[in-house]
């Protein structure tokens, strides 16, 4: 039996899309500062990049508050349980039209691979990029002992990691029931999921 459930609350959807927009704009302005892109001037790119970074930090503060007050942070606790099945699914079974090995529900939105990926994103990559970014921004105030080259190169590595994440993330979002299913869910909040029929109701 299929049932429509509210998977993503209004704040979650706003957070997701605002974050997506900010990260994409940070990538564009960042790679402009890096000299790889030449869409806007260096000076404008620096100004925008810094403003976007502060907006993202502000958004993140709200998101952290939201995750802890709602208890939703538990969704991201990493686990290896059934991780192998998920790997098998995406590397083989998906081509056979098999069912996803993990049944989603509102209290179990993420499969083991997503949990590991998002955990690394939030706990490792995100703070790494924030710290290197702040060191980069305040390098001249922090004195000459800090080499800007090291910070800049680390920040560049972080940017490539974000770009890599974005590529995989957008692609995997097409692997729902239909190509657009996950995108629609993230816009409307509603997702159609398979639920077990309650045995006592069938009497």
């Amino acid at each position: 039996m299929k049932e429509r459930k509210l998977f993503y609350t209004r704040f979650e959807r706003f957070w997701h899309w605002a974050q997506a927009l900010l990260i994409i704009l940070l990538l564009i302005t960042g790679f402009t500062i890096h000299g790889s892109l030449n869409i806007i001037s260096f000076g404008k790119a620096v100004t925008f990049h810094n403003q976007l970074a502060w907006l993202l930090l502000g958004l993140t503060a709200f998101a952290i508050f939201w995750h802890f007050t709602t208890g939703q942070w538990k969704q991201y606790t990493p686990t290896l349980e059934k991780a192998a099945e998920v790997v098998c699914y995406y590397s083989r079974d998906i081509f056979k039209g098999c069912e996803h090995p993990i049944k989603k529900d509102v209290d179990r939105k993420l499969n083991p691979l997503q949990r590991i990926a998002y955990f690394l994103l939030k706990v490792v990559l995100f703070p790494f990029q924030v710290i290197t970014g702040l060191l980069y921004l305040y390098s001249s105030q922090l004195g000459t002992s800090m080499e800007i080259s090291t910070v800049a190169l680390l920040h560049t590595i972080g940017a490539f990691a974000f770009l890599g994440f974005l590529i995989i993330h957008v692609y995997l979002a097409t692997t729902g029931e239909t190509v657009s299913a996950h995108f629609k869910a993230m816009v409307t909040g509603w997702e159609e999921i398979e639920v077990e029929e309650e045995p006592n109701r069938s009497v």
Binding site: F42, T156, I157, F160, G164, I168
Partner: protein, 353 residues
């Protein structure tokens, strides 16, 4: 006779004509500054602030500030309070170290980049300045033994029998170097390396010296006679009566250098040659209106003005080729991977329906 406050023309009577003519030596100082407009220099603008030289070149006990050879022209870069510090020679004397109100990131630059670097985008804006002087071609005559004098498109002398080839330029982009304000020179008694152009001005300071800032310079390149045996620069005798060795009468470098070195009290091996030389002079005038100041990308780009200034990381100019290569290749590999994954998904799903 006239007694009164000095004007730009007063100081300019000598300083605008250094090197033998208007604008020859400095490039950022010439007679166009007697009555400049706002576009030529924002401070000296005759219809605006109308600064005289002494507004900034303040003096203390008849010592006029701004001389920069063995001592920096500017001892400290800080705000000068009228009552306790009479010095106004630094831009910071009036503007302070954090003058950029609307774009605070620019204030992060003031410790390592001289104000003039961005605020004098080009110099010699109205009159050409000398950028090339090749003495080795001097001494050629017309068939009737008269001097050859040629002029270039700018109307300046590009060849003269007495001087050789001369190169002139307008709206010159400065060269940039780390500089702590101290400059010393290769002297006539110093041994030179004649295997490459001789840098006659030795700029002191470097990136690791906290007092050094990236500073704009006018470069004068040239070729001049030297003692090829002793490997020293020389003092040639240029003017005097015929037969005295004076080059401008006898046109014989051998005799000219022998006479000049003897008069100056230096050795001469007897062997002359020509050596290429470079002379750098700081640029500090012709401050452009702020709209014309350099933009970030003038330096923060792969091919910017500071392309040659090595030893430090500059965003927009520098990168690690390896990190970039690995980063872009990884992202490309991921794109290929998801592309293939998607293609196989598409094909296999067709088969099922």
């Amino acid at each position: 006779m006239h007694v009164g406050a000095s004007s730009r023309a007063t100081c300019g009577a000598c300083h605008f004509k250094g090197g033998g003519g208007d604008g020859v030596k400095h490039g950022d100082l010439d007679s166009s500054l007697i009555k400049p407009d706002h576009g030529l220099d924002v401070h000296m603008d005759a219809k605006g602030l109308n600064f005289s030289c002494t507004k900034c070149h303040t003096s203390n006990g008849h010592q006029i500030e701004g001389r920069f050879y063995s001592m920096p022209a500017t001892k400290n870069h800080k705000l000068a309070m009228p009552m306790d510090n009479p010095s106004r020679i630094a831009c910071e004397s009036c503007h302070g170290l954090h003058p950029h109100n609307n774009t605070p990131k620019l204030n992060d630059h003031t410790a390592r980049v001289a104000c003039e670097t961005c605020h004098v985008p080009v110099f010699a804006k109205k009159k050409p300045t000398l950028v090339w002087w090749d003495w080795s071609t001097a001494g050629k005559f017309k068939e009737d033994h008269k001097f050859i004098v040629k002029k270039d498109k700018l109307g300046k002398v590009s060849y003269h029998t007495k001087k050789g080839d001369l190169g002139w330029a307008k709206n010159v982009v400065p060269e940039y170097n780390w500089f702590n304000g101290v400059v010393t020179h290769v002297l006539a008694k110093d041994t030179i390396d004649d295997s490459r152009p001789v840098r006659m001005t030795i700029l002191h300071g470097d990136r690791n010296d906290p007092k050094s800032r990236i500073t704009p310079f006018k470069m004068l390149r040239g070729k001049q006679v030297y003692d090829a045996g002793n490997k020293t620069l020389v003092v040639p005798k240029l003017f005097g009566p015929k037969g005295s060795g004076a080059y401008w009468k006898d046109f014989d470098w051998q005799k000219s250098v022998a006479a000049g070195q003897e008069a100056a009290g230096y050795q001469f091996s007897g062997k002359v040659g020509f050596i290429e030389t470079e002379y750098l002079r700081p640029v500090a005038h012709m401050i452009a209106p702020k709209e014309e100041a350099l933009s970030c990308a003038s330096c923060h780009s792969r091919d910017g003005r500071l392309k040659k200034l090595a030893g430090f990381y500059m965003p927009g100019r520098d990168r690690s080729i390896n990190i970039d290569r690995i980063g872009w290749l990884s992202c490309l590999a991921l794109l290929v991977l998801v592309g293939l994954h998607g293609a196989v998904r598409f094909i296999t799903s067709k088969g099922r329906k």
